[in-house]
């Protein structure tokens, strides 16, 4: 009996195996068919886009050469807009025409740019974007914010403001960028409330957007006390980039911040915004720091160090880290005229590393 049931079991597993092989082959055929269908649909879509491109090209042309428009031209434009509006019910067309208007808007400014915004509004595309702000998918929401921002629809600024502390990083990034795009430095007031970290990427993006604006003397120092360490870091970058010398003491007080990344940014900031007392601040905090921040401090000493800091800098030459020694030696050379001679004297009676560092600095100076 046992033998018979084993044979039965084997025969079943044999059948399962054959079914599995057949299933794999069928799945393979399905995948290939899907791939073929996808490629065909793509090429059909491409053909459709060629037709739609005539509409988008005409709209963009009319926007660029708005001065050459006469009555006949305006009638043509009205009929093109009418035809395009009818097509906006088609999701693919909407996506296409929005994409075309956005990429044109990015490269055009002035009255032409305003015309593009008008076309965008006349086609009612902003209504779809506003609807997308309610989407549950983060990328649809973020895309809608981006679209409304690029198309300069500042009338919806209040709706967008609500997303500046959204739980999705891309949604809040786009909303924060929108605020800066619409309001410049004033738009940074979201920094007062955000609870999520501001990534380095976002900081670079915001600084880039701000660089297109005239400098402003807005109160940066309030953000030095933010509970969000990334906000403090961003504020320090603002102070550094916009040379806010009056904030020196507030920046120096960030050397006491509990977050080492904030302290590092404060050290870097002091390289640009410094007074006669900066080196005292750095020296006072030096021993509390880890190697990374100590190296950063030694680098800053090359800019802010003076003859009275020589003792401290000579002390750095006794540390184990060669990187610290290199920066300290550079700082010594910069700090006073006889720094070089003192270093040469030291190199004659000390370890090989100092002599090699000295040669390195000599080569740098010569280059």
């Amino acid at each position: 009996m046992k033998g018979r049931s084993l044979i039965h079991l084997l025969s079943i597993s044999w059948q399962i195996q054959n079914i599995a092989v057949a299933a794999v082959v069928i799945l393979m055929i399905c995948l290939l068919t899907f791939m073929l269908a996808y490629m065909l649909s793509q090429s059909l879509q491409e053909k459709k886009k060629q037709k739609w491109r005539m509409i988008s090209d005409m709209l963009i042309n009319k926007a660029i050469f708005f001065e050459e428009r006469d009555e006949i031209e305006d009638q043509i434009l009205a009929s093109v807009l009418e035809a395009a509006k009818k097509l906006t019910g088609n999701k693919q067309f909407r996506k296409f025409i929005t994409g075309e208007l956005i990429s044109a808007k990015k490269n055009i400014s002035g009255t032409s740019s305003d015309s593009l915004k008008q076309f965008y509004l006349q086609l009612g595309l902003e209504q779809y974007a506003l609807k997308n702000l309610e989407s549950r998918q983060w990328y649809v929401k973020a895309q809608a914010i981006q679209e409304l921002t690029i198309m300069d629809t500042d009338e919806f600024i209040d709706q967008l403001q609500a997303f500046t502390d959204d739980k999705n990083e891309y949604v809040r990034m786009e909303a924060q960028a929108a605020m800066v795009q619409f309001k410049g430095f004033e738009g940074l007031d979201f920094l007062d409330v955000i609870t999520y970290p501001l990534s380095n990427w976002q900081q670079i993006k915001l600084l880039q957007l701000l660089s297109a604006r005239p400098p402003s003397n807005i109160g940066i120092d309030k953000w030095f006390n933010s509970e969000n360490p990334t906000v403090v870091i961003f504020a320090l970058k603002l102070a550094r980039n916009y040379h806010r010398f009056e904030l020196h003491d507030a920046i120096a007080s960030c050397l006491d911040h509990e977050d080492p990344d904030v302290r590092l940014e404060a050290i870097r900031c002091l390289n640009e915004i410094y007074t006669d007392e900066t080196s005292d601040h750095l020296i006072g905090h030096f021993l509390r720091e880890g190697l990374r921040n100590q190296v950063a401090m030694a680098k800053v000493m090359q800019t802010v160090g003076t003859k009275r800091d020589e003792l401290f800098l000579f002390d750095l030459l006794t540390y184990d880290s060669d990187e610290l020694k290199l920066h300290a030696a550079r700082a010594l050379v910069n700090a006073s005229e006889d720094g070089w001679t003192s270093l040469e004297r030291l190199s004659n009676r000390s370890e090989d590393a100092i002599a090699r560092i000295l040669m390195h600095i000599k080569a740098e100076k010569a280059a």
Binding site: S13, V24, M28, F34, R356, A363
Partner: protein
């Protein structure tokens, strides 16, 4: 039941069980890969890399390119590296004791002079003969280091010592990079706020038959030769499916030695590249991860699916065999060095999932496959054809082809590098041919690699390349 039948059943069902687990892994890899790739593509649609290209706030990057006997192509390759789009960049070429005239060519082409350069020897390396800088300000980003031969890992360690940036990118000097490759690779380091990104990798693609002009990729073509074409498929499978899936799980163990970016501080803290292994790329990533796990700090190894780096694949079985032999030895050496992590829950995903996966399905797979096929052939000749075992084999082969077709589909749906329909058809044909003309050879090379390691053969295995000159547009 006779003992022969018992062994046969044990063998057959053992292989079946292994195949079922492998199938489950493939399914999971496919699913995770779709999720991660979708998420990446959505996120990437909001990224304007021009912002980073022009920003002075971009983190500094050092490119480390070790070169050994690359004389005929080195000038062009360095020119290509110098033309990459990135603001804060230094390019460090490490001449690893080349026996040809690589250094002389570089000196002449880039007006180099021997500079007094203090090297902070944080990682131990073979002696440096000299550090060269250019007297031409146009090439101020360039540093050339001449050192005694010590292998790729040693050369990279010299580069790590010399680099001044927080991040470095190691590349094979003969690779062709996309112009925005560094911008894309820098992004993961900048956007993470909760975890420290310790390394980031990008997709490496096969450049055989592609059109290259002045060190830049001009037109993507599918390789005309069968072996490189199958490797194209293999790379798509590995990068677009496997690595994306492991990235989703934060369990990626390998960043290709041909192109990857690393956090310099972590690399130095965990001792740099290991010159005693031929799989220095994988070993470093595993060691960095282990270091971070032991430190208890949140971290991530990032991977992006954009094709960023193009490399020449072996076009003969002889060179392919050497390469795969070396990869096998590298894998085993790495797994052996970090065996402490094997099913060790204190290493999290790394110990409980990534390491065991590599052990069972990367290291053991070719051995099981090799002895399985030998056993089956022996049984068929000695007793009778075991149709059940043959059926399992056919099933596994079909599964492999299915997985490859899925990879092709992912490629079509995402980056679609091979636009022509005949290219896709050729890739599908390659998927069908692979189990018969390519895979058995790769399995054989891996088995030989195991034997070579036992015999303590730790040679790198010469990689003769044809170079891209032949592919240049007329």
């Amino acid at each position: 039941m006779s003992w022969q039948t018992f062994i046969l059943h044990l063998f057959t069902y053992g292989i079946l069980l292994y195949s079922i687990i492998l199938l489950a892994c493939y399914l999971l890899i496919g699913t995770f890969s779709i999720m991660e790739t979708r998420s990446y593509l959505h996120k990437n649609s909001f990224t304007d890399y021009r912002v980073l290209a022009s920003s002075t706030e971009a983190p500094s990057m050092s490119i480390l390119a070790p070169a050994y006997n690359e004389g005929p192509t080195i000038i062009e390759n360095v020119r290509s590296l110098l033309s990459l789009h990135y603001h804060n960049l230094e390019v460090i070429i490490i001449n690893d004791g080349s026996k040809d005239d690589s250094l002389a060519r570089l000196i002449e082409a880039y007006s180099l002079y021997k500079a007094d350069f203090f090297v902070n020897q944080r990682l131990k390396t073979k002696p440096i003969r000299g550090v060269y800088r250019s007297s031409n300000p146009v090439y101020r980003k360039l540093i050339v280091v001449d050192k005694e031969n010590g292998g790729k890992a040693d050369a990279l360690n010299v580069g790590v010592n010399i680099a001044r940036s927080d991040y470095f990118v190691c590349i094979d000097v003969d690779c062709v990079l996309e112009q925005d490759a560094l911008l894309k690779l820098a992004k993961p380091f900048l956007e993470s706020t909760t975890q420290r990104v310790i390394a980031a990798g990008g997709v490496v693609r096969i450049a055989n038959s592609c059109e290259i002009e002045g060190g830049r990729l001009v037109k993507v073509n599918l390789p005309k030769q069968l072996l490189p074409r199958i490797q194209t498929l293999e790379y798509i499978r590995a990068f677009l499916l496997s690595r994306m899936a492991w990235t989703k799980l934060n369990g990626l163990l390998l960043i290709s030695g041909a192109f990857g970016a690393f956090d310099r501080e972590i690399v130095i803290n965990c001792g740099g590249y290991n010159p005693k292994t031929v799989g220095e790329d994988m070993e470093l990533v595993v060691r960095m991860r282990r270091y971070m796990e032991e430190l208890g700090e949140p971290y991530k190894v990032a991977f992006i699916p954009d094709p960023l780096c193009w490399t020449e694949a072996p076009s003969t079985y002889r060179i392919l065999g050497r390469q795969r032999n070396r990869w096998t030895r590298g894998t085993i050496e790495t797994l052996r060095s970090h065996k402490k992590m094997f099913f060790n829950p204190s290493y999290g995903i790394l110990g409980m999932l990534s390491y065991p996966y590599w052990f069972f399905f990367e290291f053991l797979a070719p051995i099981i496959e090799f002895f399985g096929v030998i056993g089956l052939i022996y049984y068929c000749f000695e007793y009778a054809v075991n149709w059940q075992a043959v059926s399992i084999m056919i099933g596994v082969v079909c599964l492999g082809i299915l997985y490859s077709i899925f990879a092709i589909l992912m490629e079509v749906l995402t980056y679609h590098q091979y636009k022509q329909k005949k290219d896709i058809l050729n890739l599908v044909l390659a998927a069908i041919l692979e189990p018969f003309v390519f895979h058995p050879f790769v399995v054989w090379s891996a088995v030989v690699g195991n034997f070579d390691l036992m015999r303590k053969n730790n040679s790198w295995g010469e990689m003769t390349r044809q170079g891209f000159t032949a592919n240049k547009k007329a």
